[in-house]
């Protein structure tokens, strides 16, 4: 990275205090150095200054009129008065204007108590109203979309929301309608405001105009207890605050961490907490008995499961699957449980298509995206898998003049300008090596191929960030080779791997892999079985017991048929989860596990930052944290002892990770063992190649049962190319049956231009229609299409 340009400091005098600030600082920011508050509404540190609300007017000497502090930049020798009589009068005036037609329904307003209009009126306001006529009325209950309700009367038209949608999310759905005092916040073409980032607008709204449906009228701000926490819904690990009342989570609120989330969180993270109170939440362990399920106490379940696992361990026929949704401490405890207690290396966190959750070298930071010149994404659909990371890409492309290149089997809908390169299955390593060659030769080679175009982009770039989803080992290695080439050519380059689960990287680092212990240290003895090997063994009757914790391989493992066969066949299956997943439904014993809000620990995000989260609420009586479940099972097996205290576990994990160990050449970390090569699949005549597509709200666990995110959750669907749709005489909305080699699902059909001919995009991880029934172990698959009902029939 180039050294920062020396920033010139200028001297500024604010309210009689002279001090130096960097040149170009806004007056409102300079005043913060002093601890002086200048009231603002339209100004937000993350948005471009707009100068609309006029509350921040200050007096600047040698300027004839009052100036807005939010858009005026300091100049050397500037003398600012923030509380002179003139300023006070202007503030009083603006507040009087804002309150003219404000409904003053503070007692019922969700923002009451944390409202900037209330606060500034108390501090600077006129004290009494001079308005004698009736107030003007506007719509009070405007349904903006699945998450937001708008009260136009409370709105002070600061436009933070529309500017957020325009500048940060860049979706341009929120607009201002009409003009003058009749201005209304509205949506483009009157459609729904269905953004993945909509919840942020309720937070930046300085008044109670935008309220979230999940929190509406549920509490008042002063009732809430705040707990600092970290979102575990995806691998970005955004920081947030969990607000609780009466021991119940009421809402979540951003807690800015510039290195991770930059002050925003996505709606999946924000609203996925109501499943804790949904009827589908597991509140007690249960065992399979007489063809049904019976609730038992935790102690009973632990003793039973412990003895069964111990029996299987004695025969060496046991496996442990899971870890990607646990905390770092729990993942560490889990691998100890497998290795020390069950005496096996058969442990694997990888229950998705993902095989690597971290780069073995050249790891980039999330903030590297901000000043990158080229961002290369390989099959990682960032808006769906890591929305806040995508927000960074959007900003880099919009502001930093970065180029965004996506390589994958189909073109996902990105908000930003994308250079798309279509990839055939398994061709990425070769393409990347070609690209590396082109860069080495000195790029800008003529030839209209995609690789040549990207090579010329890269040739002009100073900094490159490569993002992939770690689903294919040869591709991951090829990406690292490419980055090595780029670094050798003097460019700044790094890699980010988007995790399939929230703590995939933490589980990998804690040693939940068959061949590596904590800190990527190779295990002593033979490496154990990977997830696919364990499932294959279980399906063949070579395993006596499986312990699945915080994972749902039935829905997420690429070969759905194999996973289901294995889970049904294995003589003893114990599952720990928060809700009744498909995997849990096959289990002989199900443990009710605590959620992120009910335990404390650490989680590692995709970049490798380890962040602590704290328990916000208590779990139900028979619900235990995963660490407690592992600890109790250890006791029940009578084969050792693993504590369940996160503090002790964390200290042990740290000690284990810092132990000296041999690294492979080039300082690269050892790789988790990968089995099952991606063999080319033979698509029968007339069948379509299946490409699974991710969705932010997909998933079979919490997301499937959360009342807060249910409105945003799509119905299972498959997307066809227009020409395939014509060939199959399909209409948009028709009900179709997709039949693959080992199963079939029913979905509704959609038609989109971006689908390559001969392929069908199938929404992944929907429990109603599991996509993995169509796939084999390599993640590839095909489907024959059969129309069940036309669009009209399906709608009727």
């Amino acid at each position: 990275m180039s050294p920062e340009k020396a920033v010139r400091e200028v001297s500024v005098t604010i309210d009689g205090n002279t001090f130096a600030v960097p040149e170009g600082t806004l007056v409102v920011e300079a005043a913060k150095h002093l601890g002086t508050q200048i009231p603002v509404y339209c100004y937000h540190p993350k948005l471009e200054p707009a100068g609309l609300c006029r509350i921040c007017l200050v007096e600047i000497e040698k300027m004839p009129k009052l100036q807005i502090a939010c858009a005026t930049r300091v100049a050397d020798g500037m003398v600012v008065h923030t509380s002179s009589a003139k300023v006070a009068e202007a503030r009083r005036g603006v507040l009087e204007f804002l309150l003219l037609n404000h409904p003053l329904d503070c007692p019922v307003c969700d923002k009451g108590g944390e409202c900037e209009l209330q606060d500034f009126t108390m501090s600077y306001g006129p004290g009494e109203s001079r308005l004698t006529e009736p107030k003007l009325h506007k719509p009070k209950l405007v349904d903006l979309g699945p998450t937001i309700v708008l009260d136009e009367e409370r709105c002070i038209l600061c436009r933070r929301c529309t500017r957020f949608d325009d500048e940060i999310a860049q979706e341009r759905t929120l607009i201002v309608e009409d003009r003058g005092f009749k201005s209304l916040i509205s949506t483009r073409n009157g459609g729904a405001y269905a953004s993945y980032f909509s919840g942020n607008t309720t937070e930046i709204c300085p008044v109670g105009a935008l309220t979230s449906k999940a929190y509406r009228f549920r509490s008042r701000p002063w009732d809430l207890n705040h707990t600092d926490s970290v979102c575990t819904q995806c691998s970005v690990g955004c920081n947030y605050r969990v607000d609780t009342r009466f021991g119940r989570v009421m809402r979540t609120f951003t807690r800015e961490n510039p290195a991770v989330d930059d002050g925003w969180i996505c709606d999946r993270g924000r609203y996925t907490f109501n499943y804790l109170y949904a009827p589908e939440r597991l509140r007690a362990p249960s065992i399979k008995r007489d063809g049904g399920r019976v609730d038992v106490t935790f102690a009973e379940a632990a003793v039973l499961a412990g003895s069964k696992l111990a029996e299987a361990a004695a025969r060496g026929r046991v496996g442990v699957i899971g870890g990607g949704r646990l905390s770092d401490e729990e993942a560490y405890a889990l691998q100890r449980f497998a290795r020390e207690v069950l005496g096996t290396n058969n442990i694997d966190y990888r229950t998705h298509a993902q095989v690597y959750a971290s780069p073995s070298r050249f790891g980039a930071r999330l903030t590297d995206i901000d000043d990158a010149s080229v961002i290369l994404a390989f099959g990682a659909v960032t808006p769906e898998l890591a929305p806040i990371l995508d927000l960074r890409i959007r900003r880099a492309v919009a502001r930093g003049h970065a180029k965004f290149v996506y390589m994958g089997p189909y073109r996902p809908a990105f908000t930003i300008e994308t250079r798309y390169v279509k990839l055939q299955r398994g061709t990425l390593p070769k393409e990347l090596d070609d690209l590396g060659d082109a860069v080495r030769r000195g790029a800008g080679q003529p030839g209209g191929s995609d690789v040549a175009t990207i090579a010329s982009d890269i040739a002009a770039a100073k900094k490159i960030v490569a993002i992939h989803s770690g689903e294919d080992a040869p591709s991951a290695d090829a990406i690292e080779r490419l980055v090595e080439t780029l670094q050798q050519s003097g460019r700044d380059a790094g890699i980010l791997v988007v995790g399939a689960t929230g703590n995939a990287r933490g589980a990998e680092a804690a040693g939940c892999v068959p061949n590596l212990g904590p800190g990527y240290a190779p295990v002593s003895g033979e490496p154990g079985m990977t997830t696919d090997q364990m499932l294959a063994a279980a399906a063949d009757g070579r395993l006596d017991a499986l312990f699945v914790i915080g994972a749902n391989p039935a829905l997420t493992f690429p070969d759905g048929a194999l996973a289901r066969r294995a889970l049904k066949r294995v003589p003893f299956l114990a599952v720990a989860d928060q809700v009744m997943t498909e995997t849990a439904s096959y289990a002989h014993i199900v443990f009710a596990a605590a959620s992120f809000a009910e335990k404390r620990g650490h989680t590692t995000n995709l970049e490798g930052i380890r962040q602590a989260f704290a328990a916000a609420v208590e779990s139900p009586l028979e619900v235990r944290t995963d660490a407690q479940i592992i600890g109790a099972l250890t006791l029940a097996t009578r084969r050792g002892s693993i504590g369940d205290d996160p503090t002790t576990l964390f200290a042990e994990l740290n000690a284990a990770e810092s132990a000296p160990r041999a690294k492979t050449g080039g300082g690269a970390l050892a790789r988790p063992v990968v089995t099952g090569a991606s063999a080319p699949i033979a698509v029968p005549d007339g069948a379509l190649t299946v490409i699974p597509i991710p969705h932010l709200y997909a998933g079979g666990g919490a997301a499937a049962h959360d009342p807060g995110t249910k409105p945003m959750r799509p119905e299972p669907y498959a997307v066809f190319s227009p020409s395939d749709a014509r060939r199959l005489s399909l209409d948009e909305g028709a009900r179709v049956k997709l039949s693959g080699a080992s199963g079939s699902i029913e979905v509704s059909a959609r038609i989109a231009q971006q689908v390559p001919d001969g392929s069908v995009l199938v929404l992944a991880e929907m429990p109603e229609a599991p996509h993995n029934l169509l796939l084999d172990a390599s993640g590839g698959g095909w489907a024959n299409v059969e129309v069940i009902a036309g669009a009209a029939e399906a709608a009727g």
């Binding site: 603006v94 204007f97 001079r130 003009r179």
Partner: protein, 428 residues
């Protein structure tokens, strides 16, 4: 001291919308001169020497504006502001409809001067006739090789793009106009950056009024000295002034700047109706503060009127005689500004609406003394606190007439109605 008409020469007798006719009276000679004999900098220097000041309202020297453009090789744009919507102004409409070729000539010369390859003319949406006339003239000019590629063999090319507005007063503000041209909401932008630096599509842009640009060919043809010799010293040149209201002959008058208001109103515009006296005059459209009978000898130029606490603006003189109710006049003005506020700034959006409601109440005879008290203090929080000058235009007329005729306002409260109308009704 009427002068020989410059822009309005031949109006009413010649059909200047015909290229041949325009050419026969010496049209496009200036263009030939500028393109063949002068450098762009020469044109700028000539205009600067003439001290031509912007005819759109602000009175900023045009040559100076042109010289502000940064020389950094970015594409430049010239935007002609023909969104004439100030209450009382109707000069650009007349010029556009009657003399489109003069405007085209001015556009091409000015574009040449600032080295713009593309000119946008933002024509007010309601000027459909003017738009059609301009379009027709533009097509003729293109055919004659006066606009387009390689004009008159000089190697200089420029495109002129007419654009119709959608009926918002605020789009007459230059940055709002640029937003509107870009297809965004017509709302003023935060300044700085100024259009000269980051205007249309973020590029250096000059925005000039129709009338300003139409004087440019005449300055080129007859020289800066001729132009500077006309009218007041600091605001030289002729100007078309729209006179309306209670005068016998309302209309557009091309006069030298600095003409006394008395001469303009009493002689050129035919004076008032018999037996009537001047009560108030708005010298610069709806945004300007009023002047009164005792101020009639003021010179109509930018500086003299500014000294009186008002402005020449776009040159829209609205005369009100003693039958006019000042409260009703203020109501008309305030209703206009309430409707036309873009809604960005709080004082303009909410204050404008509140003032309108109070004045409406006073006019209807339902006002109270407390309303009047608010009106005297609200000026300080509305004026000078907004992003653009629309907010500053709400109060000047109201404040000036309230200061001059306070009893008329108090009477509206006391008598619960308009004393003037009550009198005329009882007389009837």
């Amino acid at each position: 001291m009427p002068i020989e008409p410059v822009l309005t020469k031949g109006f009413g007798s010649l059909d200047l919308t015909d290229l041949a006719v325009y050419r026969s009276v010496g049209g496009f000679a200036a263009l030939t001169k500028a393109l063949r004999e002068m450098t762009p900098d020469g044109v700028v220097a000539e205009v600067m020497a003439s001290n031509l000041r912007g005819r759109g309202g602000a009175g900023f020297p045009t040559g100076k504006k042109w010289s502000f453009l940064p020389k950094d090789g970015r594409p430049r744009y010239l935007v002609c502001n023909s969104d004439e919507a100030e209450a009382g102004t109707f000069k650009d409409r007349m010029l556009l409809e009657n003399s489109p070729f003069n405007l085209i000539e001015g556009l091409v010369i000015s574009a040449y001067a600032v080295n713009a390859k593309r000119v946008f003319i933002y024509i007010r949406g309601e000027f459909l006739a003017g738009y059609r006339i301009f379009q027709k003239a533009l097509a003729q000019a293109y055919d004659a090789g006066l606009v387009g590629a390689d004009i008159l063999g000089s190697g200089y090319s420029v495109e002129i793009v007419p654009h119709r507005g959608a009926g918002a007063y605020i789009c007459g503000e230059e940055t709002a106009q640029l937003n509107s041209l870009e297809g965004k909401r017509g709302e003023p932008r935060l300044k700085p950056p100024f259009p000269a630096n980051a205007g249309l599509y973020g590029m250096p842009t000059v925005v000039n009024n129709v009338e300003t640009l139409m004087y440019v060919p005449h300055i080129i043809e007859r020289g800066a000295k001729w132009f500077a010799s006309i009218g007041a010293e600091k605001s030289p040149g002729p100007k078309v002034i729209s006179v309306s209201g209670h005068v016998m002959r309302p209309g557009n008058y091309e006069v030298p700047l600095g003409i006394p208001m008395r001469e303009l109103v009493m002689e050129l515009a035919g004076g008032l109706r018999p037996g009537r006296r001047v009560k108030a005059i708005q010298p610069g459209g709806g945004s300007s503060a009023a002047i009164f009978e005792e101020d009639l000898d003021v010179a109509c130029d930018f500086d003299s009127l500014a000294a009186k606490g008002t402005m020449l603006g776009s040159g829209a003189v609205t005369v009100m005689d003693d039958t006019a109710c000042m409260v009703r006049c203020a109501l008309t003005i305030n209703r206009f500004f309430e409707t036309e506020s873009c809604g960005q700034c709080t004082p303009c959006r909410e204050g404008g609406q509140w003032v309108h409601r109070m004045v409406a109440r006073l006019e209807a005879g339902e006002g109270s003394e407390s309303d009047l008290k608010i009106l005297t203090t609200i000026n300080r929080t509305i004026t000078g606190t907004n992003l653009c000058v629309l907010g500053d235009s709400i109060m000047p007329f109201l404040s000036s007439v309230y200061k001059h005729f306070p009893e008329e306002f108090h009477d509206h409260v006391r008598l619960a109605g308009c004393p003037l109308h009550a009198r005329s009704e009882s007389a009837a």
